[in-house]
Subunit: 308 residues, 2 copies
């Protein structure tokens, strides 16, 4: 029976040249995605990670970090806009913002749209990431052109410990595939405590988190761990992003004790006339999509709580 | 450079046996997904189509219809629940429902949850689909066990033409991958006109439609074509479903002239104590997810209109 079934991948994969680049995820086992490659553009290793960039047939340039898809040029805006604007639009008048990781510059580009922001610090451990994005993804790395941006090449954990208490209005973590998969070891708890300490009262944090489609979806543990640390509110949200393994990614949004933050009701609309260094208005984000990101499937509500 | 890159698919695909089943979509070119196969279960051809069923490593049983993924056991509920409950929960007290296609029985299972419904007709062209689902997917084909269900093995276009005017409260089309890709030829217009005729005034129709991530997203044409035919309202909605090619699928919801239908505000809540022949309550659908399905990314609003 097996012989009768068509297998269009056979021929292409028998070639020595990589015509299809395979991307699999340990968190989403049982399927593998192959991207059609037009041209390999970069393959390098830093002290920290391995980065591959290729021109794909249909998704623009694609960046692969340690074998995992980092972004595709075609869809990167979805992740960058949601991770940045969910926290930034949830509080009035954010002024000081810290980004940990996010060396590609896309989150910087999105923060740049917010005119109230006076200071944008980024702590990225790997200079290679910055250099490669500046070379191959100028529309993403454009974020570095905002004069409010100050770059610190440093380890995020060490950097965070040194931040004076109450410094930032918003901290965006873009250093981890998801905080759900880091586990609940002490290091993570200590790191999250250092994030909470670095925020002003009523300040907000956003981080990517597990997609609710993952077999080992454990965001309830993350949410439970965040609650005693971020005593304002802790919420799970999600967005549809084709390039991630299940087509969906999660986010965890937290606020510290202080002026109440209702993440589902954005209070700080984006002025789409002023886009900072970004070219044109956001492609995905708007206030309805913001609110919808917190509407959860029933099987997710059951585990993370209707109002987590 | 290419040689240095790992290619985990190489070995498995060199085998004669299909260990990874490739699924590609002409609507989503440039990437191909491979599902890890544990056991091939069925491969057959009817007069109409080719159906493959295999046990996958991580997604339960998987059904492939003419090379396209039809459903995976793990995630099928998402599509079935949304395509059924978006229309059924948008009007009070639906009584007569027609399903065109949907031979797997999953939509029937979801319609079955609605106690107000007195008549559930299904028109499916291919007896093979029904038989195979009853054999391999009993939790989906359970929909046929509802005593209100009457099965017509017939061509949907011919069947629809013969339906007396104003017969149904709800018509669910599950016969096409998406109506966006059928194109705008006269046949489609005539078919949609026959659907509108078969609905009572203020009756509703749902159909799958293009994912907004597709390169050739043309739902604006479909929406524009539906407007003069369904003179109540025409709306585009979406849901995240990992097994579909972009991780997202669209829906078009239409109502005929008559009592106004506001699709974004469900008026007919599901009584989750009474699930008909379904085992347990819906896994994904709830009123918040219903409303969120109509919240569109900015680049989609631009083409289909904020209130389509």
């Amino acid at each position: 029976m097996a012989d009768k079934l068509a297998n269009p991948m056979r021929t292409t994969l028998l070639n020595d040249k990589i015509e299809w680049y395979p991307v699999s995820s340990p968190e989403w086992p049982g399927d593998v995605r192959l991207y059609k490659v037009e041209k390999m553009l970069f393959h390098g290793k830093s002290k920290y990670q391995e980065l591959v960039v290729f021109q794909s047939a249909k998704h623009g340039k694609v960046a692969i970090l340690d074998g995992q898809i980092q972004l595709t040029e075609k869809e990167e805006f979805a992740y960058q806009e949601m991770l940045a604007h969910l926290p930034l639009c949830s509080i009035p008048n954010p002024k000081k913002v810290l980004l940990v990781g996010g060396g590609d510059g896309g989150i910087l580009r999105e923060i740049s749209r917010h005119l109230s922001v006076e200071q944008i610090d980024i702590c990225e451990i790997d200079q290679m990431v910055i250099d490669v994005y500046k070379q191959f993804f100028p529309e993403i790395a454009v974020g570095y052109e905002d004069p409010r941006v100050k770059v610190y090449i440093d380890d995020g954990v060490a950097f965070m410990k040194a931040v004076p208490e109450g410094t930032y209005d918003v901290i965006i973590l873009d250093a981890f595939e998801s905080i759900g998969t880091i586990g609940l070891e002490l290091a993570n708890k200590e790191f999250l405590e250092s994030v909470a300490r670095a925020l002003r009262p009523g300040g907000v944090m956003s981080t990517p988190a597990d997609s609710f489609w993952l077999e080992d979806f454990t965001v309830e543990d993350t949410v439970a761990q965040c609650r005693p640390i971020f005593t304002g509110s802790v919420r799970y949200a999600w967005a549809a992003i084709p390039s991630y393994s299940s087509g969906t990614i999660g986010f965890v949004l937290c606020s510290t004790d202080g002026p109440a933050v209702d993440f589902q009701k954005p209070v700080n609309p984006l002025d789409t006339e002023s886009n900072g260094v970004a070219k044109g208005p956001p492609k995905l984000y708007n206030p309805e999509i913001h609110a919808a990101a917190f509407c959860l499937p029933s099987f997710v509500k059951e585990v993370v709580g209707a109002r987590s």
